[in-house]
Amino acid sequence: MDQRLEALLQTIQKVLPDVDGIIGLKVNAAGHIAPHLFRKEAPAELDGLAIWPKYPTPDTLRLIQKAHPGAKLGMVVRGCEERGVVEMFKHAQVDLSNISLIGLQCTREEAEFCRCAKPYTAHAKLTVGEPIEGVPDPVTEGFLAKTREERLEYWKEQLVRCIKCYGCRNVCPQCFCNVCALEDEKWVGTGWLPMPLPPMYHLVRSMHMTAKCVACRECEEVCPADIPMAIQYRLIAGDVKEMFGYETGVSMDEKPPQLLVLAEGEFERTGLPH
């Protein structure tokens, strides 16, 4: 057994007696992996404990907590998943008071797969594996080197392949709105492929990921057309940090940037005329 997996198993076994269940990943006989709630009633299920490929488990937590608000749970989180639950906590989607986070540090290989800048946890008290530094994101860097015209051309080539599966929205743990703007005909037309330009679906979604995206890249992973939309989310996250000093998932206490009121000094950083 993989060393990290072995260590994770031991940590889970330590935590499990004190909680109602632990959210992690489970593999079946043929190697298919999905999120699972491990419980002490069924200890044998831990034989199927798995760690890769990752899944949007913050959403699993949300689903379970909605039905069992008081449950005492453990949860295995990678850096991105931890940031995910922190953001969801700030938007009152999950309650972290009863949750034991078990941090799972990503390997270099995993981090490179995700082009991840922060492949480590920051809040989890229990952790498994050695944290590593973030890795470069050559895709985003390559995109930044393009001219405006080249960028337009690039997205046209990518987005003509979009089949409007809504997978990027569906899989995103941060997409928890009860009413979704992407399903509002005022903004996004229905029933036609390829979706007409301008790409309203993707423009609106990019806007809505502002100060929410935690760079887990689940959206890219489930995209049938391999459209690297996280490029945009990532760049915007950088701008939001610059303009409004906000970074997703970093601190539990820091409120997401107030949409309504400019804070001291923000106006100057927006680049708008005075």
């Binding site: 995109f143 405006r148 015209e149 080249e150 960028r151 337009l152 051309e153 690039y154 997205w155 046209k156 080539e157 003509v160 703007a181 005022k186 903004w187 390829p194 007409p196 330009l197 301008p198 790409p199 309203m200 993707h202 423009l203 609106v204 990019s206 806007m207 502002t210 490029i231 945009q232 760049l235 915007i236 701008d239 939001v240 303009m243 409004f244 940037p257 107030q258 949409l259 309504l260 009121v261 400019l262 923000e266 106006f267 927006t270 680049g271 708008l272 005329p273 005075h274």
Partner: protein
């Protein structure tokens, strides 16, 4: 080259009156901007701006009161927070962010209004029609 189509969302309390002031002073500015009066620049959502582009606008203006002068005290803060991000979204999508003009005009600033309109119309005139850019390359 066809004349560019520009939609201007003007807040009721400052910018729209600024347009009036410009009109009363018989200031000259290009007639490309079709004005939509809104209660406040904070009313203009990013979705509305995008939809305006979708409907064929080559440029969109969101004009509000100067920061600090908003009729609703901080309504225009909302615009000041959202619109810069929207400009970034446009930029990363390959759509010239210059197509979106966010600015502030008080009721008294007729000349400022005329200048903003004139400059923006020139900016848009220098760009190809957006509908031309918004066609699929394949096919």
């Amino acid at each position: 080259m066809p004349e560019p189509k520009i939609i201007g969302f003007l807040c009721n309390w400052c910018s729209y009156r600024g347009a009036d002031t410009a009109g009363m002073a018989r200031l000259k500015y290009p007639p490309n901007v079709k004005i939509v009066r809104v209660p406040c620049s904070g009313r203009v959502s990013p979705e509305l701006v995008l939809r305006t582009f979708r409907e064929g606008a080559d440029g969109v203006m969101v004009l509000g009161c100067h920061i600090g002068d908003c009729h609703y005290s901080t309504g225009n803060h909302r615009a000041a927070k959202r619109m810069p991000v929207l400009k970034k979204v446009l930029e990363y999508s390959g759509i010239d962010p210059e197509r979106l003009c966010v600015n502030w005009v008080s009721a008294a600033e007729g000349e400022r209004f005329a200048k903003i309109i004139t400059d923006f119309t020139e900016t848009i005139r220098a760009l190809p029609p957006l509908t031309e850019e918004m066609t699929w390359t394949k096919g």
